[in-house]
Amino acid sequence: MLTADLERARGYLTERKRLQEASTPDAVAALRALSSSVRLADLEMVSRARLGHIGGDFSVVDILVTLYGAVLSVDPLNPDAPHRDRFILSKGHCAGALYATLAHCGFFPIAELESFAQPLSALNGHPNRTKVPGVETNTGPLGHGFPVAVGCALAAKLRGAANRTFVVLGDGELQEGSNWEAAMTASHYQLGSLTAVVDRNRLQQGARTEETKQLEPLADKWTSFGWQVREVDGHDHAELLDAFRPGNDDRPVCVIAHTTKGKGVSFMEDRVEWHHKVPTREQVDTAREELTR
Protein backbone atom coordinates (compact mmCIF):
# COMPACT_ATOMS: atom_id res chain seq x y z
CA MET A 1 0.00 0.00 0.00
CA LEU A 2 1.36 3.39 -0.94
CA THR A 3 1.41 6.07 1.75
CA ALA A 4 0.85 9.80 1.77
CA ASP A 5 3.33 12.50 0.84
CA LEU A 6 2.87 14.31 4.15
CA GLU A 7 3.94 17.76 3.08
CA ARG A 8 1.95 17.73 -0.13
CA ALA A 9 -1.07 16.28 1.68
CA ARG A 10 -1.07 19.11 4.22
CA GLY A 11 -0.69 21.63 1.42
CA TYR A 12 -3.56 20.05 -0.42
CA LEU A 13 -5.89 20.24 2.58
CA THR A 14 -5.09 23.91 3.06
CA GLU A 15 -5.47 24.70 -0.62
CA ARG A 16 -8.77 22.85 -0.95
CA LYS A 17 -10.18 24.80 1.97
CA ARG A 18 -8.98 28.01 0.38
CA LEU A 19 -10.58 27.18 -2.96
CA GLN A 20 -13.87 26.25 -1.33
CA GLU A 21 -14.01 29.73 0.16
CA ALA A 22 -12.47 31.60 -2.79
CA SER A 23 -14.31 33.52 -5.48
CA THR A 24 -15.14 31.43 -8.53
CA PRO A 25 -12.54 33.11 -10.78
CA ASP A 26 -9.80 32.51 -8.20
CA ALA A 27 -10.82 28.89 -7.74
CA VAL A 28 -11.02 28.35 -11.49
CA ALA A 29 -7.55 29.77 -12.05
CA ALA A 30 -6.08 27.41 -9.46
CA LEU A 31 -8.00 24.42 -10.78
CA ARG A 32 -6.92 25.18 -14.33
CA ALA A 33 -3.28 25.18 -13.23
CA LEU A 34 -3.77 21.87 -11.42
CA SER A 35 -5.42 20.33 -14.49
CA SER A 36 -2.45 21.36 -16.57
CA SER A 37 -0.01 19.70 -14.14
CA VAL A 38 -2.10 16.55 -14.01
CA ARG A 39 -2.27 16.28 -17.82
CA LEU A 40 1.48 16.78 -18.09
CA ALA A 41 2.13 14.11 -15.46
CA ASP A 42 -0.23 11.72 -17.22
CA LEU A 43 1.47 12.37 -20.57
CA GLU A 44 4.82 11.42 -19.04
CA MET A 45 3.32 8.29 -17.44
CA VAL A 46 1.79 7.04 -20.68
CA SER A 47 4.91 7.93 -22.60
CA ARG A 48 7.18 6.09 -20.16
CA ALA A 49 4.94 3.04 -19.76
CA ARG A 50 4.16 2.89 -23.50
CA LEU A 51 0.57 2.15 -22.59
CA GLY A 52 -2.47 3.80 -21.11
CA HIS A 53 -5.71 5.47 -22.16
CA ILE A 54 -4.61 9.02 -22.77
CA GLY A 55 -7.68 10.11 -24.72
CA GLY A 56 -10.13 9.28 -21.94
CA ASP A 57 -7.63 10.46 -19.32
CA PHE A 58 -7.61 13.92 -20.86
CA SER A 59 -11.38 14.08 -21.18
CA VAL A 60 -11.88 13.30 -17.47
CA VAL A 61 -9.01 15.32 -15.94
CA ASP A 62 -10.98 18.54 -15.40
CA ILE A 63 -13.76 16.58 -13.70
CA LEU A 64 -11.29 14.85 -11.38
CA VAL A 65 -9.40 18.04 -10.62
CA THR A 66 -12.57 19.97 -9.83
CA LEU A 67 -13.77 17.23 -7.49
CA TYR A 68 -10.51 16.70 -5.64
CA GLY A 69 -9.44 20.32 -5.82
CA ALA A 70 -12.53 21.97 -4.41
CA VAL A 71 -15.42 19.60 -3.72
CA LEU A 72 -14.61 16.25 -2.10
CA SER A 73 -14.16 15.97 1.62
CA VAL A 74 -11.30 13.49 1.66
CA ASP A 75 -8.07 13.42 3.60
CA PRO A 76 -4.88 11.90 2.21
CA LEU A 77 -3.56 11.77 5.77
CA ASN A 78 -6.53 9.62 6.79
CA PRO A 79 -7.79 8.08 3.56
CA ASP A 80 -10.06 5.57 5.34
CA ALA A 81 -11.85 8.09 7.54
CA PRO A 82 -15.35 6.61 7.96
CA HIS A 83 -17.27 9.75 7.03
CA ARG A 84 -15.15 10.75 4.03
CA ASP A 85 -16.86 11.50 0.76
CA ARG A 86 -16.60 8.57 -1.63
CA PHE A 87 -15.24 8.94 -5.13
CA ILE A 88 -15.28 6.07 -7.61
CA LEU A 89 -13.81 6.16 -11.10
CA SER A 90 -15.97 3.59 -12.81
CA LYS A 91 -14.13 4.08 -16.10
CA GLY A 92 -11.15 2.43 -14.45
CA HIS A 93 -9.08 2.34 -17.63
CA CYS A 94 -8.44 6.03 -17.02
CA ALA A 95 -6.45 5.14 -13.92
CA GLY A 96 -3.57 7.27 -15.18
CA ALA A 97 -5.59 10.46 -14.72
CA LEU A 98 -6.76 9.32 -11.29
CA TYR A 99 -3.25 8.42 -10.14
CA ALA A 100 -1.86 11.75 -11.31
CA THR A 101 -4.67 13.59 -9.51
CA LEU A 102 -4.28 11.61 -6.28
CA ALA A 103 -0.52 12.15 -6.31
CA HIS A 104 -0.94 15.90 -6.78
CA CYS A 105 -3.23 15.87 -3.73
CA GLY A 106 -0.63 14.05 -1.63
CA PHE A 107 -2.24 10.61 -1.39
CA PHE A 108 1.17 9.24 -2.41
CA PRO A 109 4.41 10.79 -3.69
CA ILE A 110 4.37 12.22 -7.21
CA ALA A 111 7.64 10.37 -7.87
CA GLU A 112 5.65 7.14 -7.58
CA LEU A 113 3.92 7.98 -10.87
CA GLU A 114 7.11 6.89 -12.60
CA SER A 115 6.28 3.31 -11.61
CA PHE A 116 2.98 3.36 -13.53
CA ALA A 117 2.43 -0.07 -15.09
CA GLN A 118 5.98 -1.20 -14.27
CA PRO A 119 6.47 -4.74 -12.94
CA LEU A 120 5.07 -5.09 -9.40
CA SER A 121 4.02 -1.43 -9.24
CA ALA A 122 1.08 -0.47 -7.03
CA LEU A 123 -0.06 1.59 -10.01
CA ASN A 124 -1.67 -1.08 -12.17
CA GLY A 125 -3.35 -0.27 -15.46
CA HIS A 126 -6.60 -0.26 -13.46
CA PRO A 127 -6.90 0.99 -9.87
CA ASN A 128 -6.54 -1.32 -6.89
CA ARG A 129 -7.87 -0.16 -3.52
CA THR A 130 -5.61 -2.51 -1.60
CA LYS A 131 -2.54 -0.76 -3.01
CA VAL A 132 -3.49 2.83 -3.75
CA PRO A 133 -4.87 5.09 -0.99
CA GLY A 134 -7.91 7.03 -2.13
CA VAL A 135 -9.18 4.24 -4.37
CA GLU A 136 -12.50 2.94 -3.03
CA THR A 137 -13.09 -0.11 -5.23
CA ASN A 138 -11.22 -1.97 -7.94
CA THR A 139 -12.64 -0.96 -11.28
CA GLY A 140 -11.69 -1.96 -14.80
CA PRO A 141 -14.49 -4.05 -16.22
CA LEU A 142 -17.11 -1.46 -17.14
CA GLY A 143 -20.44 -1.10 -15.38
CA HIS A 144 -19.05 -1.92 -11.94
CA GLY A 145 -18.40 1.39 -10.19
CA PHE A 146 -21.93 2.73 -10.26
CA PRO A 147 -23.62 -0.07 -8.26
CA VAL A 148 -20.81 0.15 -5.70
CA ALA A 149 -21.35 3.90 -5.44
CA VAL A 150 -25.06 3.27 -4.87
CA GLY A 151 -24.10 0.95 -2.01
CA CYS A 152 -21.82 3.64 -0.54
CA ALA A 153 -24.62 6.20 -0.66
CA LEU A 154 -27.08 3.74 0.84
CA ALA A 155 -24.68 3.00 3.69
CA ALA A 156 -24.37 6.71 4.42
CA LYS A 157 -28.13 7.05 4.46
CA LEU A 158 -28.55 4.07 6.77
CA ARG A 159 -25.93 5.45 9.15
CA GLY A 160 -27.31 8.95 9.05
CA ALA A 161 -23.96 10.23 7.76
CA ALA A 162 -23.74 13.41 5.73
CA ASN A 163 -20.99 12.33 3.36
CA ARG A 164 -21.55 12.47 -0.39
CA THR A 165 -20.74 9.92 -3.07
CA PHE A 166 -19.51 10.68 -6.58
CA VAL A 167 -19.02 8.25 -9.41
CA VAL A 168 -17.59 9.04 -12.83
CA LEU A 169 -18.90 6.98 -15.72
CA GLY A 170 -17.67 6.82 -19.26
CA ASP A 171 -20.39 7.50 -21.80
CA GLY A 172 -19.69 4.32 -23.76
CA GLU A 173 -19.80 2.51 -20.44
CA LEU A 174 -23.51 3.31 -20.22
CA GLN A 175 -24.09 0.55 -22.74
CA GLU A 176 -23.53 -1.85 -19.83
CA GLY A 177 -26.92 -2.76 -18.37
CA SER A 178 -25.70 -2.85 -14.78
CA ASN A 179 -25.59 0.96 -14.82
CA TRP A 180 -29.30 1.17 -15.42
CA GLU A 181 -29.96 -1.34 -12.65
CA ALA A 182 -27.98 0.98 -10.38
CA ALA A 183 -29.76 4.09 -11.68
CA MET A 184 -33.11 2.53 -10.75
CA THR A 185 -31.90 1.50 -7.30
CA ALA A 186 -30.53 4.98 -6.56
CA SER A 187 -33.75 6.77 -7.40
CA HIS A 188 -35.88 4.13 -5.67
CA TYR A 189 -33.92 4.62 -2.46
CA GLN A 190 -33.95 8.41 -2.91
CA LEU A 191 -30.19 8.77 -2.69
CA GLY A 192 -29.93 12.53 -2.96
CA SER A 193 -26.33 12.39 -1.71
CA LEU A 194 -25.22 10.57 -4.85
CA THR A 195 -23.88 12.28 -7.95
CA ALA A 196 -23.11 10.36 -11.13
CA VAL A 197 -20.93 12.22 -13.60
CA VAL A 198 -21.02 11.09 -17.22
CA ASP A 199 -17.82 11.88 -19.10
CA ARG A 200 -19.68 12.53 -22.36
CA ASN A 201 -16.82 12.58 -24.87
CA ARG A 202 -18.95 10.81 -27.49
CA LEU A 203 -16.22 8.34 -28.39
CA GLN A 204 -15.66 4.79 -27.31
CA GLN A 205 -12.85 2.38 -28.11
CA GLY A 206 -13.71 1.73 -31.72
CA ALA A 207 -16.04 4.47 -32.91
CA ARG A 208 -18.46 7.22 -31.88
CA THR A 209 -20.98 6.20 -29.25
CA GLU A 210 -23.87 7.17 -31.49
CA GLU A 211 -22.57 4.96 -34.30
CA THR A 212 -21.92 2.04 -31.95
CA LYS A 213 -25.09 2.02 -29.89
CA GLN A 214 -26.78 5.33 -29.50
CA LEU A 215 -27.11 6.89 -26.07
CA GLU A 216 -29.23 9.87 -27.00
CA PRO A 217 -31.52 11.20 -25.79
CA LEU A 218 -29.26 10.71 -22.80
CA ALA A 219 -30.59 13.41 -20.48
CA ASP A 220 -34.12 12.14 -21.03
CA LYS A 221 -33.03 8.64 -20.09
CA TRP A 222 -31.65 9.84 -16.74
CA THR A 223 -34.66 12.05 -16.09
CA SER A 224 -37.01 9.19 -16.78
CA PHE A 225 -35.04 7.06 -14.32
CA GLY A 226 -35.83 9.60 -11.61
CA TRP A 227 -32.64 11.66 -11.58
CA GLN A 228 -31.98 15.40 -11.57
CA VAL A 229 -29.91 16.14 -14.65
CA ARG A 230 -27.38 18.94 -15.06
CA GLU A 231 -25.60 19.38 -18.38
CA VAL A 232 -22.33 21.27 -18.42
CA ASP A 233 -19.12 21.84 -20.32
CA GLY A 234 -16.92 19.20 -18.70
CA HIS A 235 -13.81 21.30 -19.19
CA ASP A 236 -15.22 24.44 -17.62
CA HIS A 237 -14.27 24.35 -13.94
CA ALA A 238 -16.82 27.00 -13.02
CA GLU A 239 -19.66 25.05 -14.61
CA LEU A 240 -18.44 21.84 -13.01
CA LEU A 241 -18.23 23.49 -9.58
CA ASP A 242 -21.79 24.66 -9.96
CA ALA A 243 -22.96 21.26 -11.16
CA PHE A 244 -21.35 19.49 -8.20
CA ARG A 245 -23.34 21.43 -5.61
CA PRO A 246 -25.62 19.16 -3.57
CA GLY A 247 -29.04 18.32 -4.97
CA ASN A 248 -32.05 20.17 -3.66
CA ASP A 249 -34.30 17.15 -3.09
CA ASP A 250 -34.07 13.38 -2.64
CA ARG A 251 -33.34 12.69 -6.28
CA PRO A 252 -29.79 11.63 -7.11
CA VAL A 253 -27.95 14.02 -9.44
CA CYS A 254 -26.58 13.16 -12.87
CA VAL A 255 -24.07 15.58 -14.30
CA ILE A 256 -23.66 15.09 -18.03
CA ALA A 257 -20.25 16.62 -18.59
CA HIS A 258 -19.74 17.32 -22.28
CA THR A 259 -16.08 16.69 -22.91
CA THR A 260 -13.55 16.19 -25.65
CA LYS A 261 -11.48 13.04 -25.75
CA GLY A 262 -7.78 13.97 -25.79
CA LYS A 263 -8.63 17.50 -24.54
CA GLY A 264 -5.68 19.86 -24.62
CA VAL A 265 -3.63 18.24 -27.35
CA SER A 266 -4.66 19.29 -30.85
CA PHE A 267 -3.83 16.07 -32.67
CA MET A 268 -5.57 13.91 -30.06
CA GLU A 269 -8.77 15.87 -29.62
CA ASP A 270 -11.94 14.05 -30.64
CA ARG A 271 -10.02 11.36 -32.50
CA VAL A 272 -11.06 7.78 -31.89
CA GLU A 273 -7.57 6.29 -32.29
CA TRP A 274 -6.33 8.16 -29.20
CA HIS A 275 -8.45 5.93 -26.99
CA HIS A 276 -5.31 4.01 -26.13
CA LYS A 277 -2.72 5.03 -28.67
CA VAL A 278 0.74 5.85 -27.30
CA PRO A 279 2.40 9.05 -28.54
CA THR A 280 5.77 8.96 -30.29
CA ARG A 281 8.64 10.96 -28.83
CA GLU A 282 7.94 13.81 -31.25
CA GLN A 283 4.26 13.73 -30.39
CA VAL A 284 5.10 13.85 -26.68
CA ASP A 285 7.19 16.96 -27.29
CA THR A 286 4.38 18.60 -29.22
CA ALA A 287 1.82 17.62 -26.61
CA ARG A 288 3.99 18.93 -23.78
CA GLU A 289 4.38 22.21 -25.58
CA GLU A 290 0.65 22.56 -26.15
CA LEU A 291 -0.18 21.66 -22.56
CA THR A 292 2.25 24.24 -21.13
CA ARG A 293 1.18 27.06 -23.38
Binding site: N138, H144, G151, L158, T185
Partner: protein, 320 residues
Protein backbone atom coordinates in the same frame (compact mmCIF):
# COMPACT_ATOMS: atom_id res chain seq x y z
CA UNK B 1 -41.86 -36.21 18.42
CA UNK B 2 -40.09 -39.41 19.49
CA UNK B 3 -36.34 -39.48 19.74
CA UNK B 4 -36.08 -41.62 16.61
CA UNK B 5 -38.36 -39.33 14.68
CA UNK B 6 -36.32 -36.32 15.83
CA UNK B 7 -33.12 -37.98 14.67
CA UNK B 8 -34.65 -38.62 11.27
CA UNK B 9 -36.20 -35.18 10.90
CA UNK B 10 -34.91 -33.13 8.02
CA UNK B 11 -34.53 -29.36 7.75
CA UNK B 12 -34.39 -26.59 5.18
CA UNK B 13 -31.20 -24.76 6.16
CA UNK B 14 -32.50 -21.50 4.68
CA UNK B 15 -34.68 -21.19 7.78
CA UNK B 16 -31.68 -21.51 10.11
CA UNK B 17 -29.81 -19.01 7.96
CA UNK B 18 -32.60 -16.47 8.27
CA UNK B 19 -33.07 -16.97 12.01
CA UNK B 20 -29.38 -16.58 12.74
CA UNK B 21 -29.11 -13.52 10.50
CA UNK B 22 -32.02 -11.91 12.36
CA UNK B 23 -30.39 -12.70 15.70
CA UNK B 24 -27.16 -11.12 14.49
CA UNK B 25 -29.03 -8.06 13.23
CA UNK B 26 -30.47 -7.55 16.71
CA UNK B 27 -26.95 -7.58 18.13
CA UNK B 28 -25.18 -5.48 15.52
CA UNK B 29 -26.77 -2.58 13.67
CA UNK B 30 -24.22 -2.86 10.86
CA UNK B 31 -25.81 -6.11 9.66
CA UNK B 32 -27.91 -5.59 6.52
CA UNK B 33 -29.60 -8.07 4.23
CA UNK B 34 -29.43 -7.36 0.51
CA UNK B 35 -31.57 -9.32 -1.89
CA UNK B 36 -32.90 -9.46 -5.43
CA UNK B 37 -36.65 -9.74 -5.03
CA UNK B 38 -35.83 -12.87 -3.02
CA UNK B 39 -37.30 -11.80 0.31
CA UNK B 40 -39.47 -14.90 0.37
CA UNK B 41 -37.07 -17.46 -1.05
CA UNK B 42 -34.28 -16.18 1.20
CA UNK B 43 -36.70 -16.38 4.17
CA UNK B 44 -36.17 -12.71 4.94
CA UNK B 45 -39.76 -11.74 5.69
CA UNK B 46 -39.19 -11.67 9.46
CA UNK B 47 -35.99 -9.66 8.94
CA UNK B 48 -37.88 -7.14 6.81
CA UNK B 49 -40.66 -6.87 9.36
CA UNK B 50 -38.27 -6.15 12.19
CA UNK B 51 -35.67 -4.10 10.30
CA UNK B 52 -37.39 -2.67 7.23
CA UNK B 53 -34.62 -0.12 6.58
CA UNK B 54 -31.91 -2.75 6.75
CA UNK B 55 -33.48 -5.04 4.18
CA UNK B 56 -32.25 -3.70 0.86
CA UNK B 57 -34.14 -5.13 -2.08
CA UNK B 58 -32.57 -4.06 -5.38
CA UNK B 59 -35.15 -5.92 -7.41
CA UNK B 60 -34.30 -8.43 -10.09
CA UNK B 61 -30.79 -7.16 -10.74
CA UNK B 62 -27.98 -9.41 -9.60
CA UNK B 63 -25.07 -7.35 -10.92
CA UNK B 64 -26.42 -4.36 -9.02
CA UNK B 65 -27.06 -6.63 -6.03
CA UNK B 66 -23.43 -7.59 -5.58
CA UNK B 67 -22.07 -4.13 -6.43
CA UNK B 68 -24.43 -2.49 -3.94
CA UNK B 69 -23.31 -5.05 -1.37
CA UNK B 70 -19.68 -4.07 -1.97
CA UNK B 71 -20.59 -0.39 -1.57
CA UNK B 72 -22.47 -1.04 1.66
CA UNK B 73 -19.38 -2.80 3.00
CA UNK B 74 -17.26 0.17 1.93
CA UNK B 75 -19.65 2.35 3.91
CA UNK B 76 -19.16 0.35 7.09
CA UNK B 77 -22.09 -2.05 6.95
CA UNK B 78 -21.88 -5.86 7.07
CA UNK B 79 -23.95 -6.95 4.08
CA UNK B 80 -25.37 -10.43 3.67
CA UNK B 81 -26.08 -10.52 -0.06
CA UNK B 82 -28.63 -13.23 -0.59
CA UNK B 83 -30.04 -14.67 -3.78
CA UNK B 84 -30.71 -17.98 -5.45
CA UNK B 85 -27.25 -19.46 -5.94
CA UNK B 86 -27.45 -19.87 -9.75
CA UNK B 87 -28.21 -16.18 -10.30
CA UNK B 88 -25.97 -14.83 -7.57
CA UNK B 89 -22.91 -16.66 -8.83
CA UNK B 90 -23.69 -16.93 -12.54
CA UNK B 91 -25.15 -13.54 -13.34
CA UNK B 92 -22.88 -11.58 -11.01
CA UNK B 93 -19.67 -13.58 -11.31
CA UNK B 94 -17.63 -10.62 -12.51
CA UNK B 95 -18.96 -8.46 -9.67
CA UNK B 96 -17.96 -11.21 -7.24
CA UNK B 97 -14.50 -11.27 -8.78
CA UNK B 98 -13.81 -7.53 -9.11
CA UNK B 99 -16.02 -5.75 -6.56
CA UNK B 100 -15.83 -8.30 -3.75
CA UNK B 101 -12.85 -10.67 -4.04
CA UNK B 102 -10.25 -8.50 -5.75
CA UNK B 103 -11.41 -5.44 -3.82
CA UNK B 104 -11.30 -7.48 -0.58
CA UNK B 105 -14.43 -6.13 1.05
CA UNK B 106 -16.41 -8.01 3.64
CA UNK B 107 -19.48 -9.06 1.72
CA UNK B 108 -21.14 -12.32 2.74
CA UNK B 109 -22.43 -13.91 -0.44
CA UNK B 110 -25.30 -16.22 0.42
CA UNK B 111 -26.14 -18.68 -2.33
CA UNK B 112 -29.61 -20.01 -1.55
CA UNK B 113 -31.06 -23.27 -2.87
CA UNK B 114 -27.84 -24.48 -4.48
CA UNK B 115 -27.09 -27.68 -6.34
CA UNK B 116 -30.17 -29.20 -7.95
CA UNK B 117 -32.56 -28.04 -5.22
CA UNK B 118 -34.85 -26.44 -7.78
CA UNK B 119 -35.29 -29.86 -9.40
CA UNK B 120 -37.97 -29.67 -12.07
CA UNK B 121 -37.26 -26.02 -12.79
CA UNK B 122 -34.29 -27.31 -14.70
CA UNK B 123 -30.62 -26.55 -15.32
CA UNK B 124 -31.19 -22.79 -15.66
CA UNK B 125 -32.14 -22.83 -11.99
CA UNK B 126 -29.61 -25.39 -10.83
CA UNK B 127 -26.39 -24.18 -9.29
CA UNK B 128 -23.96 -27.00 -9.80
CA UNK B 129 -21.25 -24.75 -11.31
CA UNK B 130 -20.87 -22.33 -8.38
CA UNK B 131 -18.15 -24.28 -6.57
CA UNK B 132 -16.03 -24.54 -9.72
CA UNK B 133 -16.51 -20.88 -10.60
CA UNK B 134 -15.76 -19.55 -7.15
CA UNK B 135 -12.80 -21.84 -6.55
CA UNK B 136 -11.23 -20.20 -9.59
CA UNK B 137 -11.42 -16.78 -7.93
CA UNK B 138 -8.74 -15.87 -5.39
CA UNK B 139 -9.49 -14.84 -1.83
CA UNK B 140 -13.12 -15.96 -1.45
CA UNK B 141 -13.60 -18.63 1.21
CA UNK B 142 -16.28 -21.15 0.20
CA UNK B 143 -18.39 -22.62 2.98
CA UNK B 144 -20.95 -25.37 2.40
CA UNK B 145 -22.87 -26.08 5.61
CA UNK B 146 -24.36 -29.55 5.95
CA UNK B 147 -27.12 -28.94 8.49
CA UNK B 148 -28.88 -26.26 10.53
CA UNK B 149 -26.26 -26.10 13.28
CA UNK B 150 -23.45 -25.64 10.82
CA UNK B 151 -25.48 -23.09 8.87
CA UNK B 152 -26.00 -20.99 11.98
CA UNK B 153 -22.34 -21.23 12.93
CA UNK B 154 -21.21 -20.31 9.41
CA UNK B 155 -23.47 -17.25 9.32
CA UNK B 156 -22.04 -16.03 12.61
CA UNK B 157 -18.48 -16.74 11.50
CA UNK B 158 -18.91 -14.95 8.16
CA UNK B 159 -20.21 -11.78 9.80
CA UNK B 160 -16.93 -11.27 11.62
CA UNK B 161 -14.44 -12.86 9.23
CA UNK B 162 -12.01 -10.24 7.96
CA UNK B 163 -12.84 -10.58 4.26
CA UNK B 164 -15.51 -11.79 1.88
CA UNK B 165 -17.04 -15.25 1.90
CA UNK B 166 -19.50 -17.43 0.01
CA UNK B 167 -22.03 -19.43 2.01
CA UNK B 168 -23.89 -22.13 0.09
CA UNK B 169 -27.16 -22.53 1.97
CA UNK B 170 -28.89 -25.88 1.32
CA UNK B 171 -32.59 -25.99 0.52
CA UNK B 172 -32.75 -29.75 0.03
CA UNK B 173 -33.96 -31.16 3.37
CA UNK B 174 -31.10 -32.50 5.45
CA UNK B 175 -30.98 -34.16 8.89
CA UNK B 176 -28.75 -32.95 11.71
CA UNK B 177 -25.26 -34.38 11.24
CA UNK B 178 -23.11 -32.13 13.41
CA UNK B 179 -22.46 -33.52 16.91
CA UNK B 180 -23.81 -31.09 19.52
CA UNK B 181 -21.20 -28.64 20.73
CA UNK B 182 -18.99 -28.95 17.65
CA UNK B 183 -17.60 -25.50 16.86
CA UNK B 184 -17.35 -24.17 13.32
CA UNK B 185 -13.66 -23.68 12.67
CA UNK B 186 -12.64 -21.89 9.50
CA UNK B 187 -10.62 -24.16 7.24
CA UNK B 188 -11.23 -27.18 9.46
CA UNK B 189 -13.37 -30.20 8.66
CA UNK B 190 -15.39 -32.32 11.08
CA UNK B 191 -14.62 -36.03 11.19
CA UNK B 192 -17.90 -37.80 11.89
CA UNK B 193 -16.81 -41.47 11.95
CA UNK B 194 -13.48 -43.14 12.64
CA UNK B 195 -13.12 -45.83 9.95
CA UNK B 196 -9.65 -46.88 8.79
CA UNK B 197 -10.46 -48.66 5.50
CA UNK B 198 -11.71 -45.90 3.25
CA UNK B 199 -12.57 -42.22 3.58
CA UNK B 200 -15.60 -40.38 2.33
CA UNK B 201 -15.23 -36.61 2.18
CA UNK B 202 -18.59 -35.00 1.63
CA UNK B 203 -20.13 -31.54 1.75
CA UNK B 204 -23.61 -30.10 2.18
CA UNK B 205 -26.53 -32.34 1.33
CA UNK B 206 -24.26 -35.32 0.71
CA UNK B 207 -22.89 -35.56 4.26
CA UNK B 208 -25.90 -37.38 5.69
CA UNK B 209 -25.84 -39.74 2.73
CA UNK B 210 -22.17 -40.44 3.39
CA UNK B 211 -23.06 -41.34 6.97
CA UNK B 212 -25.76 -43.70 5.72
CA UNK B 213 -23.23 -45.30 3.36
CA UNK B 214 -20.82 -45.76 6.26
CA UNK B 215 -23.60 -47.47 8.23
CA UNK B 216 -24.27 -49.83 5.33
CA UNK B 217 -20.60 -50.71 4.92
CA UNK B 218 -20.05 -51.18 8.63
CA UNK B 219 -22.39 -54.15 8.33
CA UNK B 220 -19.98 -55.73 5.84
CA UNK B 221 -16.96 -55.05 8.00
CA UNK B 222 -15.65 -52.05 6.04
CA UNK B 223 -14.74 -49.11 8.22
CA UNK B 224 -15.48 -45.75 6.63
CA UNK B 225 -14.08 -42.46 7.82
CA UNK B 226 -16.65 -39.79 7.04
CA UNK B 227 -15.42 -36.22 6.90
CA UNK B 228 -17.74 -33.25 6.60
CA UNK B 229 -15.70 -30.76 4.57
CA UNK B 230 -17.77 -27.64 5.07
CA UNK B 231 -14.87 -25.38 4.06
CA UNK B 232 -14.03 -26.09 0.47
CA UNK B 233 -11.75 -23.08 0.28
CA UNK B 234 -9.50 -23.16 2.18
CA UNK B 235 -9.51 -26.94 2.28
CA UNK B 236 -8.62 -28.79 5.47
CA UNK B 237 -5.42 -30.15 3.98
CA UNK B 238 -4.30 -31.94 7.15
CA UNK B 239 -7.49 -34.00 7.27
CA UNK B 240 -7.24 -34.86 3.57
CA UNK B 241 -3.59 -35.89 3.84
CA UNK B 242 -4.27 -37.98 6.91
CA UNK B 243 -7.05 -39.75 5.01
CA UNK B 244 -4.77 -40.32 2.03
CA UNK B 245 -2.08 -41.77 4.27
CA UNK B 246 -4.22 -43.76 6.68
CA UNK B 247 -6.97 -45.23 4.49
CA UNK B 248 -7.01 -47.03 1.13
CA UNK B 249 -8.64 -44.31 -0.82
CA UNK B 250 -10.91 -41.27 -0.81
CA UNK B 251 -14.43 -40.89 -2.14
CA UNK B 252 -15.64 -37.33 -2.49
CA UNK B 253 -19.33 -36.47 -2.72
CA UNK B 254 -20.90 -33.13 -3.55
CA UNK B 255 -24.07 -31.77 -5.13
CA UNK B 256 -22.09 -29.96 -7.80
CA UNK B 257 -20.38 -30.54 -11.10
CA UNK B 258 -17.23 -32.61 -10.77
CA UNK B 259 -15.21 -30.16 -12.90
CA UNK B 260 -13.89 -28.04 -10.09
CA UNK B 261 -15.51 -28.40 -6.69
CA UNK B 262 -14.70 -30.45 -3.61
CA UNK B 263 -13.50 -33.52 -5.51
CA UNK B 264 -11.21 -31.45 -7.69
CA UNK B 265 -9.80 -29.66 -4.66
CA UNK B 266 -9.07 -32.93 -2.86
CA UNK B 267 -7.64 -34.55 -6.00
CA UNK B 268 -5.34 -31.62 -6.69
CA UNK B 269 -3.96 -31.88 -3.19
CA UNK B 270 -3.46 -35.63 -2.98
CA UNK B 271 -2.10 -35.97 -6.54
CA UNK B 272 0.73 -33.65 -5.61
CA UNK B 273 1.42 -34.85 -2.08
CA UNK B 274 0.24 -38.36 -1.36
CA UNK B 275 -1.47 -39.94 -4.39
CA UNK B 276 -4.20 -42.38 -3.50
CA UNK B 277 -7.13 -44.00 -5.31
CA UNK B 278 -10.13 -41.69 -5.55
CA UNK B 279 -13.71 -41.65 -6.72
CA UNK B 280 -15.18 -38.21 -7.37
CA UNK B 281 -18.96 -38.26 -7.04
CA UNK B 282 -21.01 -35.33 -8.24
CA UNK B 283 -22.85 -34.24 -11.32
CA UNK B 284 -21.01 -35.23 -14.48
CA UNK B 285 -20.43 -32.52 -17.07
CA UNK B 286 -23.99 -32.58 -18.32
CA UNK B 287 -27.26 -30.70 -17.95
CA UNK B 288 -29.66 -32.57 -15.72
CA UNK B 289 -32.85 -34.05 -17.15
CA UNK B 290 -36.26 -33.12 -15.79
CA UNK B 291 -36.93 -34.36 -12.31
CA UNK B 292 -37.29 -33.44 -8.66
CA UNK B 293 -34.21 -32.69 -6.59
CA UNK B 294 -34.58 -36.05 -4.95
CA UNK B 295 -34.96 -37.82 -8.30
CA UNK B 296 -31.90 -36.07 -9.71
CA UNK B 297 -29.72 -37.05 -6.75
CA UNK B 298 -30.78 -40.65 -7.41
CA UNK B 299 -30.27 -40.19 -11.16
CA UNK B 300 -26.64 -39.16 -10.64
CA UNK B 301 -26.17 -41.81 -7.95
CA UNK B 302 -25.58 -39.22 -5.29
CA UNK B 303 -27.11 -41.54 -2.74
CA UNK B 304 -25.96 -43.64 0.19
CA UNK B 305 -25.94 -46.61 -2.17
CA UNK B 306 -23.85 -44.74 -4.77
CA UNK B 307 -21.37 -43.61 -2.16
CA UNK B 308 -21.21 -47.12 -0.64
CA UNK B 309 -20.53 -48.69 -4.04
CA UNK B 310 -17.64 -46.28 -4.71
CA UNK B 311 -16.24 -46.80 -1.21
CA UNK B 312 -16.47 -50.56 -1.56
CA UNK B 313 -14.46 -50.40 -4.79
CA UNK B 314 -11.71 -48.47 -3.07
CA UNK B 315 -11.75 -50.75 -0.03
CA UNK B 316 -10.85 -53.61 -2.39
CA UNK B 317 -10.81 -56.88 -0.54
CA UNK B 318 -12.74 -55.57 2.39
CA UNK B 319 -11.45 -55.07 5.91
CA UNK B 320 -7.70 -55.11 6.36
Amino acid sequence: MTQVAAANATHDCRKSFAEELLALAREDERIVAVCNDSVGSSNLVAFRNEFPDRLINVGIAEQDLVGVGAGLANGGMIPFVSAAAPFLTGRALEQIKADVAYSQVKVVLCGQSPGMAYGELGPTHHSIEDLSWLRAIADVPIVVPADPAQTRAAVRWAAYHTGPSYLRIPRFPVPDVTPPGTPFEFGRSVQLTDGEDVTVIAAGSLVSRALDAADQLAGTGIGVRVINMACIEPLDTAAVLAAAQQTRGIVTAEEATVTGGLGAAVATLVAQTHPCPMRILGVPRTFAPTGSASFLLEHFQLTAQGIATAARELAGDGPR
